[in-house]
């Protein structure tokens, strides 16, 4: 029977059916970080259990780590303690740990692919919802809670109910100045923040065939913002080219064997899906959010919605709540909204191609006076390669602070935070209330090039106009 990739990977990794009807699913690769793992290791200690396959678990620090001062002890003693705890756990349980001295540290979803740990046809879990990112390689990657982190550490498996699969076809070409981030925001606005509940998203169509691996990662990363548990793209030659020669990629004869195996996981041409959505790429505009949920987004030409026209009471309340939090007025264009901070980075858009693309346009421009602009590479490898190309220089000449690798202001668990009701043009993935570190801070999500345009003008702008794209 013809199967899609999700079904094939699921069937290959299913160990058995559990008494509650869920499946005991083997997790091929387990990624961990400092925030959601300490309690799980604590539970293992309480139960007196070891990590079952320590060589299938990889750790790094990203969420809390400062991006300016990099020597321990850090100024935040809690952050310092959590990072020490991860080092201790990794050592005690025999887990590979990419620490600050390794040159490989970074946001876990940037590190996995660039080290070649993320491979097609595998199952991946991490105590982090953006684990969906790894789906860009044709892996089935789940974000999980800490108790499940314990389950995976202890048994290399977890209990899970099977998902339905929705194929999202995007055909055609993106218009100039429109990026993978816009595709992600567009899909979420179209299907809603809860539209994907119960689904894995399979992204395909001629647009996805054409997108680079890094662009595919940007879209898969935000599957979770659309409510889907995971998202993936079928592996193809681009996937294999990307993986070739990476530190954890197979070599020699093993490589050829692996490619054959990886190919076999791709969805069969005549397989079935539980749902199919078709989108035309040329409908997609540079997209920005205006509210406090990632589905509250529209084209850069949009005007702030009027809550009173919403028919459903909850929708009316949501719109009302969002615009009063964002301090925006119904009927006003989003373009021209003043910004205080510009943030470039995160596991959505903190990879080398993002900084390259922005640098192309930023050269010769200056960040507007009064705007704090930071550029945070997703990993130490990205940082190093960007510096080799002189990208850091272009950013700092323009007035951006070039920082060290980490999650930084995506969730502001380190000192990079908004202050008061500052408004941030951000290349990250969440615009929730308080997300960027201030309980009244405001976030507008957009593509990296749009962040640069906003930084240069000091207000939300159409990058196509600012940079003559």
């Amino acid at each position: 029977m013809a199967k899609n990739l999700f079904q094939k990977v699921w069937d290959a990794h299913a160990v058995r059916e559990l008494s509650n009807g869920q499946t005991q699913l083997l997790i091929g690769t387990h990624l961990i970080h400092e925030v959601t793992s300490p309690q799980a290791f604590g539970m293992l200690r309480d139960l007196g259990i070891k990590v079952k396959y320590p060589n299938r678990t990889f750790a790094t620090v990203d969420h809390i780590v400062p991006t300016d001062q990099r020597e321990q002890p850090f100024s935040d003693p809690l952050a310092d303690a959590m990072i020490k705890e991860l080092a201790k756990n990794a050592e005690e349980f025999g887990v590979t740990y990419f620490d600050l001295a390794s040159g490989k540290q970074g946001v876990v979803h940037v590190v996995g692919p660039e080290q070649g740990i993320t491979q097609p046809g595998t199952t991946i879990a991490c105590g982090d919802s953006h684990t969906a990112t790894h789906g860009a390689f044709g892996a089935i990657a789940f974000g999980i809670g800490t108790t499940q982190v314990r389950d995976v550490l202890a048994t290399q498996t977890m209990a899970l109910g099977k998902l339905k699969v929705r194929r999202i076809n995007v055909d055609g070409d993106l218009k100039p100045g429109v990026y993978a981030k816009d595709v992600a925001l567009h899909i979420i606005a179209l299907l809603g923040a809860n539209g994907g509940i119960g689904f894995a998203y399979e992204y395909g169509g001629t647009l996805f065939d054409a997108l680079s691996m890094e662009e595919r990662m940007t879209v898969c990363n935000m599957a979770i913002e659309g409510g889907a548990r995971c998202g993936y793209v079928n592996p193809d030659d681009k996937t294999f080219d990307y993986l070739k020669g990476r530190p954890y990629s197979p070599e020699g004869d093993n490589w050829d064997e692996a490619v054959l195996r990886w190919k076999s996981f791709a969805s069969d041409p005549d397989c079935e899906y539980d749902d199919i959505i078709n989108i035309s790429a040329d409908e997609i505009a540079p997209t920005v959010t205006w509210g406090v949920s990632p589905d509250q987004g529209f084209s850069i030409e949009g005007v702030i919605p009027d809550p009173s026209v919403e028919k459903n009471e909850n929708d009316r309340l949501s719109v009302q709540e969002a615009i009063s939090y964002m301090k925006l007025e119904p009927g006003e264009p989003i373009k021209g909204t003043k910004i205080d901070v510009a943030f470039l980075g995160s596991c959505t858009n903190g990879r080398l191609s993002d900084f390259r693309e922005v640098a192309k346009y930023l050269k010769g421009h200056k960040v507007s006076e009064g705007v704090k602009a930071i550029a945070v590479p997703g990993s130490q490898v990205v940082d190093l390669m960007a510096k080799k190309e002189g990208l850091d220089k272009i950013f700092s000449d323009a007035g951006f602070e070039w920082r060290a690798a980490g999650c930084s202001m995506c969730l502001a668990m380190n000192p990079d935070k908004l202050v008061g009701d500052q408004l941030c043009a951000s290349s990250s993935n969440r615009n929730f209330k308080g997300r960027q570190g201030s309980p009244t801070g405001r976030t507008v999500l957009m593509s990296p090039v749009m962040v640069a345009a906003a930084a240069v003008n000091g207000y939300i702008s159409d990058a196509r106009e600012v940079f003559s794209i």
Binding site: H13, S19, Q39, A154, T157, N194
Partner: protein, 199 residues
């Protein structure tokens, strides 16, 4: 490890209105700087309950008439966003033992189930009815009958949806899967070898 059989939850309820209430709102990230979950309850919904000086803002959880509630009622896509188990842990440690909403984000649902906190799904209409009922009569006892998928109060009874797998796991005391997962060691090793993971 014998677990409690969670067949029902009875108690006062409180309604926190809104769709898409995310886990950042349930527990802001800065309170996740901890190596244990102890003490998270006091920071539940912190930024919507407290102003910058730490004084109470208007929020149902700050209203004395709802104090001691053990059932939380909300709307669609509750618990979306970050996978942080700190969110269900904070709810649990604050005193919630069940949630009733129109729908849930999946990771949140699974995290709650693993803690033995039933998440029941009710229709928009029934959420409306029960929230206005508890607004008029905050002391009313709300009874979530997990085994029969029902909400029962002296004034109002309706069916809810709890996926059968989760329901059985709760009512039969198998909501923490670790023991069962550990049983299949040989089968796990076999799959690992077959797929070439054992490098």
């Amino acid at each position: 490890m014998a677990l409690e059989k969670i067949k029902e939850v009875k108690g006062k309820a409180v309604y926190v209105q809104g769709n898409d209430i995310d886990t950042d709102r349930i527990i802001p990230a800065r309170f996740m700087k901890c190596v244990t979950f102890d003490g998270l309850g006091e920071f539940l919904f912190y930024d919507v309950r407290k102003d910058v000086e730490g004084n109470d803002k208007e929020h149902p959880l700050n209203e004395p008439r709802f104090s001691g509630a053990s059932i939380l009622i909300s709307n669609a896509n509750f618990g979306c966003g970050s996978s942080r188990e700190h969110a269900p842990q904070a709810l649990y440690r604050y005193g919630f033992r069940a949630i009733l909403a129109e729908s849930y984000a999946e990771i949140f649902f699974g995290n709650c189930c693993g803690l033995g906190v039933p998440c029941a799904v009710a229709s928009h209409e029934n959420i409306k009815k029960i929230s206005s009922l508890i607004d008029q009569n905050p002391e009313i006892e709300v009874h979530l009958d997990v085994a029969n998928s029902k909400i029962i109060t002296s004034e109002l009874t309706f069916s809810v949806d709890i996926p059968p797998g989760a329901r059985e796991a709760l009512t039969e005391g198998r909501w923490d899967p670790i023991a069962e997962l550990q049983e299949a060691e040989q089968a796990v090793d076999d799959v690992v070898n077959e797929l070439g993971y054992a490098i």
